[in-house]
């Protein structure tokens, strides 16, 4: 049906004697929203760390677009290839304004490449999408937790990424903010974009995900729709049925 955006192939990451990822393989397609869930220490964030180049795997590779092996590339090269990630802890630049964040996300390079009107349009569009138009001149350090989460989503979105990775986008958000974030994630879905979401909030996952991958001790425990996940005995055992 659709093309594979990310192919994770036999990935192993060890921290000392602890296997954070243990011969993990999975495929994420363009056009889908994939949720990755699992108990603490299952390897969810480690997987995103390997894909974004922060952690080097001991074994295995990650193929992007079926051709580019990401495991040898720098974080910056991976980002420029079209993969962007929002971190678990909202990571924004406290000393920069909201607009500056979007400008940095939209146009990579020490000097601006987009001309001023094109950049303005892009900034306006992204701020509209993440609902921060009113905040555009404020410093990121002054924003609320929820606004920082959206700012970070906006900043990674500004480059129009092919693969968008969101690590716990609704952690610490109010119900209303979670609702808005779910709508936002659904709106970002496109045939030429893969969205990977790591999240603990099961109701949120149910609302956004096309497919769910359950990780446990660095391996895939289950893959399928959220309804099937809830029905699977093994998953209930390790995770849901606590």
């Amino acid at each position: 049906m659709s093309l594979t955006a990310l192919l994770v192939d036999g990935l192993t990451v060890r921290f000392g004697s602890f296997r954070a990822l243990d011969d993990l393989s999975l495929a994420i397609d363009y056009g889908e929203v994939r949720a990755i869930i699992g108990p603490n220490g299952a390897g969810k964030t480690t997987l995103l760390d390997v894909i974004s180049g922060i952690t080097r795997p001991k074994q295995g590779r990650v193929l992007f677009d079926g051709a580019i092996d990401l495991t040898g590339l720098s974080e910056a090269a991976i980002a420029r290839a079209g993969l962007r990630r929002k971190f678990q802890k909202p990571s924004v630049f406290e000393g920069l304004s909201v607009r500056q964040h979007i400008a940095i996300g939209a146009d990579v390079g020490f000097r601006a490449r987009l001309d001023a009107p094109a950049l303005e349009d892009r900034i306006g569009e992204v701020l509209e999408t993440v609902g921060l138009v009113d905040q555009s001149h404020r410093l990121a350090g002054e924003l609320s937790h929820g606004q920082k989460q959206w700012l970070e989503i906006g900043m990674v979105l500004a480059s129009d990424p092919k693969v968008l990775m969101l690590d716990e986008p609704v952690a610490g958000l109010t119900d209303e903010e979670t609702e808005r974030t779910a709508a936002l994630v659904r709106a970002l879905k496109r045939p030429d974009r893969a969205i990977v979401v790591v999240e603990h909030d099961m109701d949120f996952v149910e609302r956004i995900a096309d497919r769910v991958t359950v990780l446990h001790e660095g391996r895939t425990l289950f893959e399928g729709s959220m309804a099937h996940v809830r029905a699977d005995a093994a998953v209930v055992e390790v995770y849901l049925g606590r």
Binding site: E75, A76, L96, A103, A112, M155
Partner: protein, 368 residues
């Protein structure tokens, strides 16, 4: 508002630059008249301007990029030593006086690596190339290995210490523990005259104004925004496609070059350079100037350097033994009460009401 739409308060720095240029013009205009400053005061102003340039160099890398160097005295000394080499070689050419340290070593002529130093453009080019090479190599190795924070600060401190030990050796041909002194001629003019003292002070003030204007332009550009982004969250910026290694290297080398420039201005005014410039204490003191003035503010760095050094100049007559206590007291005060230095004091009066209003607005927003 600049292109990024950030509201920029340019006024204080523009005022400061204007003030410095005005002071330089006044000094130049009044030279030789009865209103001219005393030689001592003119010389002190020139030295303070050189220190202010040095403070800006550290603020650029520490305040705007978050990289603390406790070894900036190295680049300051590099500029100073290479300037001294020019001065000695040039003075020797004109007056035929053999420098003390050569006589002391029993050498008949300058070592071969002094060739060409009588020519100022050559000395300047050598200073730029050597500073860029040393800072570039050191920065590349450190930043590539992702050494940062206190580890980087400690390594820079070790580097300046190693350089000091090296320069204390008498057989290197750079003056050894006595250093270099006895500069008599600069650009063909005799040194030590009122005119020369004023000219050097005016030049230092103009360089200070130029460096301030250049750095102000840089930190307000897109590149400057990326510097702040690197300071605030480097991993975040890297995972957005930016090679922060290159960015850090560029700013680090630029900072080293500005420190070098400060050293070149300083040495002809103080009339001597010796390895004590490379002592870790001086490098630490630069960080203190910036911390007291307020890091991340160019105006703060200048004010910090001027204030601390003015007090030091005065105390070195009045009560030299209490200077270390005053300095330590200032550090404690800054760390405990004013983490952003004197800039906190400014905010107290000017921004507080706005901040309070904003706080109230936030609380209003948060309420359902």
């Amino acid at each position: 508002m600049n292109r990024f739409g950030r509201i920029t308060h340019t006024a204080p720095i523009v005022h400061l630059i204007a003030l410095i240029v005005l002071a330089a013009l006044l000094m130049a205009g009044l030279a030789g008249t009865e209103f001219a400053l005393s030689r001592y005061l003119a010389n002190a102003i020139g030295q303070l301007a050189a220190f202010a340039v040095l403070a800006i160099s550290l603020d650029l890398i520490w305040g705007y990029l978050g990289i603390l160097s406790l070894g900036h005295g190295l680049f300051f000394a590099l500029g100073g030593y290479l300037m001294a080499m020019y001065l000695l070689k040039h003075s020797f050419e004109i007056t035929g006086t053999v420098p003390d340290f050569l006589q002391f070593m029993g050498w008949k002529e300058f070592p071969f690596y002094w060739d060409g130093f009588e020519f100022f453009p050559y000395a300047l080019a050598a200073a730029v190339v050597i500073t860029t090479l040393i800072s570039g190599l050191f920065g590349y190795v450190s930043f590539r290995s992702r050494v940062g924070g206190v580890y980087f600060a400690i390594i820079t401190q070790a580097l300046v210490y190693v350089a000091m030990l090296l320069m204390f050796r008498n057989d290197t041909g750079f003056g050894g523990n006595n250093g270099m002194t006895g500069f008599t001629v600069l650009f063909g003019w005799p040194m030590g005259t009122s005119g020369m003292i004023t000219a050097l002070a005016v030049a230092s003030l103009l360089v200070l104004a130029g460096v301030l204007a250049g750095c102000n332009w840089l930190v307000r550009s897109r590149f400057g925004a990326l510097m702040l982004a690197t300071r605030d969250d480097e991993t975040r910026l890297r995972t957005m496609g930016y090679e922060t290694l290159r960015l850090k290297l560029i700013v680090w080398c630029l900072s080293a070059l500005i420190a070098m420039l400060a050293g070149m201005l300083y040495v002809p005014q103080v009339g001597i350079i010796n390895p004590r410039v490379l002592s870790p204490e001086l490098s630490l003191e630069i960080a203190v100037w910036v911390a007291i003035g307020g890091r991340g503010h160019l105006v703060g760095a200048v004010i910090g350097a001027l204030l601390v050094n003015a007090v030091k100049f005065w105390l070195s007559f009045a009560a030299p033994e209490i200077w270390p206590f005053i300095l330590s007291g200032l550090i404690v005060l800054v760390v405990l009460v004013f983490p952003n230095g004197l800039m906190d004091l400014a905010k107290f009066k000017l921004v507080r009401p706005m901040g309070a209003k904003r706080l109230a607005a936030d609380m209003g927003e948060a309420r359902p």
